[in-house]
């Protein structure tokens, strides 16, 4: 029982897990689809699974040689092959074609939910299965605080707009959220193409950095 509690405490101490759970709850309370909430809860679940793996690895290593392991568990696979594949130019063309094709469907329809959900699951799964590069990135606490404060301001302002709606699930002109403001853009084919291209480019950029 204490082993389970220790692993649960390891997760509770991880701010990323908390952020994902809180975001998932807000998403569901504000009328979001189950798929949107699920991707956030799945992320928190993967972090829990990771902590369990860390705990097991620590027990095994401790019993064998008595060493302390780093916080990240050993990789399940190498990220290099997929990263190299992502960097191939042919993927850029294929992704652009996919964006043009996907944008034919309206937002919040089953085909787009399925496509974006599948891509999201694959990428989050890849992030879970692979080991980050052992890159030494030095960031000062003050620098983190500045960017964190800006992100927090955006989150709080969006939350204020959400709470200013008649209900959490009912959009309002007087208190517009970011998604309310972007809905007219994504109602057009060109807007959806731009949206998909930006989303895919952001994903590729993040994969290259990890």
């Amino acid at each position: 029982m204490s082993l389970v509690m220790n692993r649960l405490l390891m997760v509770l101490r991880d701010p990323v897990a908390w952020i994902l759970v809180i975001a998932g709850v807000v998403e569901l309370l504000s009328g979001g689809t189950a798929a949107r909430g699920a991707i956030l809860f799945a992320g928190a679940g993967l972090i829990l699974a990771d902590r369990i793996r860390v705990g097991r690895a620590r027990v095994r290593a401790g019993a064998a040689i008595g060493t302390v392991l780093p916080s990240d568990p050993p990789p399940l696979m190498s990220p290099a092959p997929l990263r190299a594949a992502v960097e191939r130019r042919v993927w850029v063309g294929a992704a652009l074609a996919a964006c043009l094709l996907a944008a034919l469907f309206g937002v919040h329809t089953m085909p787009l939910t399925a496509v974006t959900g599948l891509v999201g699951i694959l990428v989050v799964g890849w992030a879970w299965l692979t080991q980050p590069d052992a890159e030494d990135v030095d960031v000062s606490g003050r620098g983190l605080l500045i960017w964190g404060a800006a992100l927090l301001m955006l989150g709080l302002w969006e939350l204020t707009a959400l709470l200013g709606q008649p209900t959490l699930a009912e959009s309002s002109y007087e208190s517009p959220t970011i998604s309310y403001l972007l809905d007219p853009v994504f109602a057009t084919y060109a807007g959806r193409v731009v949206g998909f291209v930006l989303w895919a480019a952001a994903g590729r950029s993040l994969i290259r950095r990890s």
Partner: protein, 65 residues
């Protein structure tokens, strides 16, 4: 000023704040890290990677899916 305009102004101010921080970060010998550096710092752990990619996937589902 209507609440609609006030809300929009807030988004614009926060966006400009982000751009300003990035411009300051790009100056030589700046103590402020660039957003790219902060992202690489977050992505260096697996929980950070899962969090960032889950947020990215959620954005796709929220705005487009």
């Amino acid at each position: 000023m209507t609440t609609h305009a006030l809300t929009l102004t807030g988004y614009v101010v926060i966006a400009l704040l982000g751009v300003t921080i990035e411009i300051i970060a790009r100056r030589p010998d700046s103590a402020v890290p660039r957003l790219d550096t902060v992202l690489r710092w977050v992505l260096r752990t697996r929980s950070g990677r899962i969090g960032v990619f889950a947020a990215w996937a959620w954005m796709g589902l929220h705005f487009l899916g």
